[in-house]
């Protein structure tokens, strides 16, 4: 459902993504791994239109993003963002809204869902991520793990066809990582399409159908997680996985 074709992205003169072509299928969980600075976040942000790119194209269903500024792609961009949700490393919960308010915000103001309906749905989603008891809490009153689970519920509230997650557990205290991964495993089982940037190799191995290794702005490995992790073809991958 998401097709990236010959994507190129530069920051100034530095090429950060070079000639990336890849397709993500519906219902599949893809883990994106690779060394720091490899371009993982940038790739995710391009798909969501938070970054513009310099060449190639990104297609989500029938919607196409092309190189150039956001204005040109405005229509496609808004439509794609409603179909593709994003979960950030730093959660980015709206700090002036409660957990419930965060989850309701977009359905009510973007989709025009009635507040009563949105509230019902938000409660159900918060229950699904195990936070029905924290609905009235403000972000600064919640732990990182709780906030990240609210952020996942917030993204799910838009019924996205795909979910982009950029290191959803990296900023968490170690004892909080599990609760977020549990939620993601559950989503994976339910068939939610996800593209997860992660350093949690066990999670990637257990929960994803496919693993990509991004290095120096290029995909150097693409296959089932066991294959990529146990029999990497690229020496860089071996170095990264510590199997030198």
């Amino acid at each position: 459902m998401i097709t990236i074709d010959k994507l190129q992205k530069k920051f100034g003169d530095r090429v950060v993504l070079s000639d990336i072509s890849v397709t993500f299928e519906k219902g599949k969980v893809v883990s994106l791994i690779g060394p720091s600075g490899g371009g993982k976040s940038t790739l995710l942000r391009c798909v969501n239109g938070l970054e513009t790119f310099d060449a190639g194209s990104i297609t989500v269903d029938d919607l196409k993003l092309e190189p150039g500024d956001a204005k040109k792609n405005k229509h496609a961009l808004l439509a794609i963002r409603q179909r593709v949700g994003m979960v950030f490393q730093q959660w980015n919960l709206f700090s002036h809204r409660t957990a419930l308010g965060n989850v309701m915000e977009a359905p009510v103001h973007v989709k025009g869902v009635s507040p009563a309906q949105a509230t019902e749905r938000a409660k159900a989603l918060l229950d699904r991520v195990g936070l029905s008891h924290r609905m009235g809490a403000y972000p600064h009153e919640m732990s990182g793990g709780e906030q990240q689970r609210v952020a996942i519920a917030r993204a799910l509230a838009m019924d996205p066809e795909a979910l982009l997650l950029d290191e959803p557990t990296s900023a968490l205290d170690p004892e909080r990582v599990g609760e977020v991964l549990d939620v993601l495993r559950k989503l994976a089982k339910e068939g939610q399409t996800m593209l997860v940037v992660t350093h949690e190799m066990r999670f990637a191995r257990e929960a994803s159908h496919r693993t990509l290794v991004l290095h120096g702005g290029a995909i150097i490995e693409d296959g089932p997680p066991e294959q990529v992790m146990d029999h990497p073809t690229h020496e860089r991958t071996r170095a990264f996985l510590g199997k030198g």
């Binding site: 239109g49 938070l50 963002r81 950030f88 980015n92 917030r154 993204a155």
Partner: protein
């Protein structure tokens, strides 16, 4: 405790700028006192020793009083310059002009900035209580002007009831009008006539010299007639009786010799009214100063009935009446209302400017930049002036509207900066999260960024409101009578700044202190979250 300290500071400030009008010795203010019964006070000796008579005035008053000589830039000219030179010569010293804001001439005199005031300084009842007046050197008429097409106005003060008449604040003409018309007080001489032409007032009552220069040239206006005679005299400190007596004598010689007549004729302001100066008697002086009980049917030289109970010396400071206290509270109400309305304009306008600068198209952002730079880079006083007087021929705003617009548009520039800082303090991730959910940029700003930015900015906005509360006193230049203006008016009536000043300070404080507590609370709450 904070309140007590603040009031103490206010009291000191008021004392030092208002001077002490009641405790000074020599309170026989100006009436030709029997000099033999008095010990020399050294004031004349001091001037002689310094070899210079320093006289205060404001060149802004313009021709023919004291003004910049167009032929010799940097030099002063005017009939009072010539008079000062003649007076100094009679004392055997040099004359030295000291420039001083006209409205602060008395406090400056009391602070020894100069020896005498000599600048179209009219003899008025409140002034008699604070300075020592010489016999007059000029007799003027309080001249009434009105629009040519306005037949309602006659040369009779009783015909002015219910009409808005412009005049200079604290002037002789204002005293004449008191109790007879709705007085619109100005600080300058051009504005009252301009406002009458514009229809903001029904008439103008001012000295004939001023009327001739500023009113008569306006084709829309006509001279209605003269309502009363008034006097320009030399004003000195009551304590400087020696100097006063010497100047009185010098002036008498200058008048007797015909020199004053020549000086006045040079500026074309000599007329038959001046004939009485040659025969000026001690009785005339007493009558001018309003010290003798008025004869039946005679209103005295100062026009209007004398204030206060009969027999009370007009030099005694008056208590503030309950009515005046009430006027103060009304003044405070106007100050508060102006501030709230102006802030009500500044907040949304500032928000629009901040958003335009940060997210608008280049052209709009540039315009918003210009707006902010312009309004922050020029004095708000000037902006008020341009808005009210400068644009009067294009849009005729009433004074309160102009005040609200002027202050509001000025403060919008500051609010814009406050919001910009607030918006930039909202983490970038907030906007990205909103966009990633499919919000458009305007929606994301409205729902996510601005509410947070506003919360961050709220303490600064509250502080700006406190500043606005005080800045609103500037609108007195466009005839709005708010708290500070009320204070200066009452101070002149009561002859002392102490009580009105304290009351004024207290009222400002009573309005701003709760706000600053609020600002502190908001800051604390912000720091916690």
């Amino acid at each position: 405790m904070g309140l007590a300290a603040c009031m103490a500071v206010a009291a000191i400030a008021v004392q030092s700028c208002g001077g002490n009008g009641s405790g000074a010795p020599g309170r026989d203010a100006g009436a030709a006192a029997p000099s033999g019964a008095r010990r020399p006070d050294g004031s004349l000796a001091r001037v002689r020793a310094a070899g210079v008579l320093r006289w205060g005035g404001d060149v802004q008053g313009g021709a023919p009083y004291v003004y910049d000589d167009p032929d010799h830039p940097g030099q002063n000219k005017g009939f009072e310059v010539d008079l000062a030179i003649a007076l100094a010569r009679e004392l055997g010293v040099r004359a030295e002009f000291v420039q001083n804001d006209w409205s602060a001439l008395v406090p400056s005199l009391e602070r020894n900035t100069f020896d005498v005031i000599l600048n179209g300084f009219e003899v008025t009842r409140p002034r008699v209580g604070r300075v020592r007046f010489s016999p007059p050197y000029y007799v003027f008429a309080a001249r009434l002007m009105a629009r040519r097409d306005d037949a309602r106005i006659r040369a009779d003060v009783n015909s002015l009831r219910g009409m808005r008449i412009g005049t200079l604040t604290n002037s002789f003409s204002e005293e004449v009008l008191k109790g007879h018309a709705e007085i619109v007080g100005y600080e300058g001489t051009e504005e009252p006539y301009a406002d009458c032409v514009a229809g903001r007032t029904d008439g103008v009552l001012l000295d004939d010299i001023i009327a001739t220069i500023y009113g008569v040239p306006k084709p829309e206006l006509r001279v209605v007639g003269d309502l009363a005679d008034g006097f320009y005299a030399i004003a000195g400190r009551p304590a400087d009786e020696d100097l006063g007596v010497a100047l009185d004598a010098a002036l008498a010689r200058i008048i007797a010799s015909g020199e004053l007549e020549r000086i006045l004729k040079r500026e074309n302001i000599y007329n038959d009214r001046q004939l009485g100066l040659r025969t000026w008697s001690a009785d005339d002086q007493r009558r001018m100063l309003g010290l003798s009980p008025a004869a039946p049917g005679q209103t005295g030289a100062l026009g209007g009935p004398p204030p206060g109970a009969a027999g009370v010396s007009s030099t005694a400071p008056h208590r503030m009446t309950l009515g005046q206290v009430w006027m103060f509270i009304q003044g405070a109400g106007i100050t508060l209302l102006l501030s709230i309305l102006a802030m009500g304009l500044a907040v949304p306008l500032g928000l629009a400017l901040a958003v335009s600068r940060l997210y608008g198209p280049k052209f709009v952002a540039r315009l918003a930049d210009l707006y902010v730079e312009f309004y922050r880079g020029t004095p708000v006083l000037l902006q008020l002036y341009v808005l009210y007087y400068g644009l009067a021929s294009i849009i005729r705003l009433d004074a309160v509207t102009a005040a609200v617009l002027g202050l509001g548009m000025n403060y919008a520039a500051y609010e814009a900066e406050v919001y910009r800082a607030g918006i930039q303090a909202v983490p970038k991730g907030q906007l990205e999260a909103a966009l990633s959910l499919g919000m458009t940029t305007p929606l994301a700003l409205r729902r996510v960024v601005l509410p947070q930015a506003f919360r961050l900015a709220l303490p600064s906005v509250t502080n700006d409101f406190i500043a606005l509360l005080k800045d609103s006193s500037l609108v007195s230049v466009i005839t709005v009578v708010e708290l500070t203006k009320r204070m200066t008016i009452v101070a002149v009536d009561t002859r002392s700044y102490v009580v009105p000043g304290l009351l004024c300070a207290f009222l400002y404080f009573a309005m701003s202190y709760p706000l600053s507590i609020l600002a502190k609370r908001l800051e604390e709450r912000l720091a916690r979250s």
